[in-house]
């Protein structure tokens, strides 16, 4: 392990029965049709997930009460092969606007013949989520829970980068 690989990245993949351009379009334009509704941060039930197309596009959820909660932003928009978005939910389950504290999700789309596409996902820089003042404030204020895990991550990350 190198001194930059503080918290190992997460990986996932899926093979889908769509040509690569349609797979990219379905992943992005139709994210609200497939994102599991139980994974959301807003106070009311989630009715939609929206990923805006193009660089700097927003990634957010819309709740049943009409409220919107930010999740991140598009960093790289290279249809139909590559997408990088940030995941900016901090230790208090709030959106953190500081890009220095953003983890990143890269999704790569590779054609496997004319009708199939391999979708590979990497969630990286998880340690960045824990480095910011907001998280430390949360720990001081609330203690325990999620924050303590993030705090532990920060300690491990700091120890390994020394």
């Amino acid at each position: 392990m190198t001194n930059t690989a503080t918290v190992p990245s997460l990986h996932g993949e899926a093979m889908v029965e769509l040509p690569v351009d349609q797979a990219f379009a379905f992943f992005t334009d139709s994210i609200g049709r497939w994102w599991p509704a139980e994974y959301h941060i807003g106070p009311s039930d989630m009715v939609d997930t929206i990923l805006e197309s193009g660089p700097a596009g927003r990634w957010y959820e819309r709740g049943a009460d009409g409220s919107e909660c930010e999740w991140g932003k598009v960093l790289v928009w290279e249809p139909p092969h590559q997408l990088v978005v940030t995941w900016q939910i901090n230790g208090n389950w709030q959106y953190d606007d500081d890009p220095n504290r953003a983890s990143e999700i890269e999704v790569r789309f590779s054609p496997d013949g004319p009708h199939q596409t391999l979708v590979e996902l990497e969630h990286r820089h998880l340690d960045r989520l824990v480095g910011g003042q907001a998280v430390h404030d949360t720990i001081a204020e609330a203690g325990g829970g999620w924050s303590s895990v993030l705090n532990a991550l920060a300690r491990v990350a700091a120890a390994k980068s020394r």
Binding site: R33, W34, W35, Y39, A152, L153
Partner: protein
């Protein structure tokens, strides 16, 4: 440090257990507090907590006469396990939805 990873992801595969984990992520709680917020009995909460505790994701501390459960601060892999579960579920869901879209091409963008 990855030795227990598969096991931890498995621990969070159960939706009720994941709900308990998420509640504890927001706030350390007693069995009674968890049972009040979830549609399951105290006994079921206790059983799930025991599994999470045995798996190293959750720890208990005595506060007066109560036992308060919280995420294990030393369980660094717990966060990774949690996110891994999200991506596994999300990609499975994406795969199913796209196969559906492939069958009904008029619905694809």
């Amino acid at each position: 440090m990855n030795a227990g990873e598969g096991g931890e992801i498995g621990l969070l595969g159960d939706p009720t257990r994941r709900a308990i984990f998420e509640h504890l992520a927001r706030r350390p709680s007693s069995v009674g507090e968890l049972a009040d917020r979830l549609p399951i009995t105290r006994q079921a909460v206790s059983q799930h907590l025991q599994v999470l505790k045995d798996g190293g994701l959750v720890v208990a501390t005595a506060v007066g006469t109560k036992r308060i459960y919280r995420l294990n601060p030393d369980g660094v892999d717990a966060l990774r396990g949690y996110f891994q579960r999200i991506w596994d579920d999300a990609l499975t869901s994406f795969q199913k939805a796209s196969d559906q879209a492939a069958i009904s091409p008029e619905e694809t963008p």
